[in-house]
C-alpha cells in the first residue's frame, strides 16, 4: 500500500513543534484532501438544494447527491441504491430501526438479543425498546479470547424476534464472523431480524451486506474518512417497504392534502427535510479514495501493524491488553491498562494526559461501552486505534510514551 500521509492535511500540523501521532480513528477518522475538496466544491460551486429546482446548479446538486448514494451502495454490496438511506450517523440509523421497525414489530414477551460488547448506540435503543414493550432483552457474553460466546448466542436467538450485533468491537477490536454466524442463526431461526452495527467494519474491511445477509446495516461517515453529520442505514427492500416513516415532512412525501398525506418510496420515505448534501457528497469522495487504495490493501496494512503493536506492547512489563490474541481475529483497535511496579492501576486519564505531552492521541474511559467494562471488571481503559495513515513509527512512539508514563507515575 502506498504511503498516504501526504493526503491528510491534519498530519502536517505541528503542536509543541512535534507531529501529531493520531491513534484515535475509532473515535473519528482524519479527512483526506479529495474529501475536503469535494465538500468545498459543492459549497462554492453548486450549493443548491436537491430535488427542488430545474436550474443547472440544482440539477448538479441532485446528480452528485444521488451519485454518492450509488457509490456507497456499490461499496457495501447493496443490490440497489434504494436500500441506502442517508442519516446523520450510525446512532441515528440504529434508532431509526428501533423506532420504525421495532415499535411496530416487538410485542410484550418477545425476545430481543444483543451482546455485552456493543457500543451504547447498539445497546441502549434495544434496551429502551424492550422496556417500553415489555420484551425480554438477552445479552450474550464473550469468551476468554474476548470473542462472542457462540454457543450462548445460538441458544439466545431461538425464538427471538431481533438480534442486534456489532461487526467489530470498538473496544476489543474483535471481528465477529458475521457471515458464518448469520448462516447458522438463520438455520435455527429463519425469521429473525438481524441488525449489524458496521461503524467499525466499513472503514477497515471490505463489506458486502448481501453476502452477510443481515436485514439492516448501519455505519457513520466520519469514521470512514468522510465528514461528520452523515451516516448510512442499509436495509433489505422488503423490510424497508413495510416500515412506517421515521420523520415526517418535506422530501419524504408524495402528496399532501389538508386531510391526508402519502409518502415516497424508499429511500426518500426515510429522508425527511433537506439532507446533509455536502456530507453525502464528501462521503462519496471518501469511498472513491478508499476504492483507489483497495480495502483489501487497507486490511493487510492494518493487520500487520496491529500484529506489530501487540508484539511490542506485550514486551512491556506492567501492561494488560484486552481483546483477541491474534491480529487476524481483530481490527486495529488495542485497549489496554498500565500498572505501577506494585501492581496498582495507573488511571487511563493519567496515561492519556502524559501521552498527550508528546502529541500521542489515544482515548481513555469506557468508550461508550459501560456494560463491557463492568463485565470485565474494569473502571476504564486506554484505547489506541490504527488506520491507513498509521505506521510502525507511530507504534514506536506509543511504546516510548507508555514507558514515560510508568517513569512518572509508576
Amino acid at each position: 500500500m502506498r504511503s498516504v500521509l501526504a493526503d491528510f492535511p491534519l498530519l502536517k500540523i505541528r503542536i509543541r513543534n512535534k507531529r501529531i501521532v493520531y491513534l484515535d480513528s475509532t473515535a473519528t477518522s482524519l479527512k483526506p484532501q479529495p474529501v475536503l475538496d469535494a465538500i468545498n466544491k459543492y459549497n462554492t460551486q453548486y450549493s443548491a438544494n436537491v430535488f427542488r429546482g430545474l436550474y443547472d446548479i440544482s440539477e448538479k446538486a441532485t446528480f452528485e447527491f444521488e451519485k454518492a448514494r450509488e457509490k456507497i451502495a456499490n461499496f457495501i454490496g447493496a443490490s440497489t441504491t434504494k436500500e441506502v438511506i442517508f442519516v446523520r450517523n450510525a446512532t441515528e440509523a440504529l434508532n431509526l430501526v428501533a423506532v420504525s421497525w421495532g415499535k411496530e414489530n416487538i410485542k410484550k414477551n418477545d425476545v430481543v438479543v444483543t451482546t455485552i460488547m456493543e457500543h451504547h448506540s447498539n445497546f441502549v435503543p434495544w434496551q429502551n425498546l424492550s422496556e417500553e414493550k415489555g420484551a425480554k432483552l438477552k445479552v450474550v457474553g464473550v469468551d476468554r479470547d474476548y470473542k462472542i460466546d457462540e454457543t450462548e448466542l445460538l441458544l439466545a436467538v431461538k425464538g427471538a424476534k431481533l438480534l442486534a450485533l456489532t461487526h467489530i468491537s470498538n473496544v476489543l477490536g474483535t471481528i465477529n464472523p458475521v457471515l458464518k454466524i448469520i448462516k447458522k442463526i438463520r438455520k435455527i431461526n429463519p425469521d429473525i431480524v438481524i441488525v449489524i452495527d458496521g461503524a467499525q467494519s466499513v472503514p477497515h474491511l471490505p463489506v458486502n451486506v448481501a453476502k452477510i445477509n443481515c436485514d439492516f446495516f448501519a455505519f457513520s461517515g466520519h469514521k470512514v474518512l468522510g465528514p461528520t453529520g452523515i451516516g448510512v442505514l442499509w436495509g433489505k427492500t422488503k423490510i424497508l417497504e413495510k416500515m412506517k416513516p421515521y420523520m415526517y415532512g418535506g422530501e419524504m412525501i408524495n402528496r399532501v392534502t389538508i386531510s391526508k398525506s402519502t409518502f415516497q418510496d424508499i429511500p426518500l420515505k426515510f429522508e425527511a427535510g433537506t439532507p446533509n448534501i455536502s456530507g453525502a457528497i464528501g462521503l462519496g469522495a471518501a469511498v472513491d479514495y478508499l476504492n483507489a487504495i483497495g480495502m483489501d490493501n487497507i486490511r493487510k496494512h492494518e493487520e500487520a501493524l496491529t500484529k506489530f503493536a501487540l508484539e511490542e506492547l506485550s514486551k512491556l512489563p506492567n501492561i494488560t491488553l484486552y481483546g483477541p490474541k491474534r491480529a487476524s481475529d481483530r481490527c486495529g483497535v488495542v485497549s489496554f491498562n498500565v500498572f505501577t511496579k506494585k501492581g496498582y492501576l495507573i488511571h487511563p486519564h493519567d496515561v492519556s494526559q502524559i501521552l498527550n505531552e508528546d502529541n500521542i492521541c489515544v482515548r481513555s474511559g469506557h468508550h461508550c461501552a459501560m456494560p463491557l467494562h463492568d463485565r470485565l471488571d474494569l473502571v476504564a481503559t486506554v484505547r489506541a486505534s490504527f488506520y491507513l495513515y498509521n505506521s510502525r513509527r507511530d507504534v514506536r512512539e506509543l511504546i516510548k510514551g507508555i514507558k514515560k508514563v510508568v517513569k512518572i507515575l509508576g
Binding site: 488511571h347 481513555s364 507515575l409
Partner: protein, 124 residues
C-alpha cells in the same frame, strides 16, 4: 511535566488522611460514572467544626491528589466556611490549569464534601 508537578505526585503517592473509621459523624459517597473516579469521605465533627476527615477512593492522579489536598485543607474548618469553598479554591490548592475533563476529576472530592454537609441540614 507541567500537570504532574511535585506536589500533585506527592499527594498521589502519599495521600494524607487516607483510610476509614468505624463511627464517623457523616459518611458520603461520590463518583463520576463516566470515568470511574469514586470516593467515600468520612467527617468527624466537633461542634460546628470539622475535627477529623478521612477518605478512601479510586481514580486518577488528579482526583486522588485533589482529595488528599482538600482533606488536609478542611481539617479544623468550620462548616460555614466549608460550605463556601468553591471551584476556584480547589484550583488554587492544586496550583495548575486543568482541561474541562480533568476539572471534573479535581472537583469530585469537593462536590462530595458539599453533599455530605448538605445532608446535615442548615445551621451548624
Amino acid at each position: 511535566m507541567d500537570i504532574y508537578r511535585e506536589n500533585i505526585l506527592d499527594h498521589y503517592r502519599n495521600p494524607r488522611n487516607y483510610g476509614k473509621v468505624a463511627n464517623p459523624d457523616i459518611s458520603q459517597f461520590g463518583d463520576n460514572p463516566l470515568c470511574g473516579d469514586s470516593i467515600e469521605i468520612q467527617l468527624i465533627l466537633k461542634g460546628s467544626k470539622i475535627s477529623q476527615v478521612y477518605f478512601i477512593g479510586k481514580g486518577c492522579a488528579i482526583f486522588l491528589a485533589s482529595a488528599s489536598m482538600l482533606c488536609e485543607h478542611i481539617r479544623g474548618m468550620s462548616l460555614v466556611n466549608l460550605r463556601k469553598l468553591s471551584k476556584d479554591d480547589i484550583l488554587e490548592l492544586i496550583g495548575i490549569t486543568l482541561s474541562l475533563t480533568r476539572l471534573k476529576c479535581a472537583l469530585l472530592p469537593l462536590v462530595t464534601v458539599h453533599k455530605a454537609v448538605n445532608a446535615l441540614g442548615k445551621g451548624g
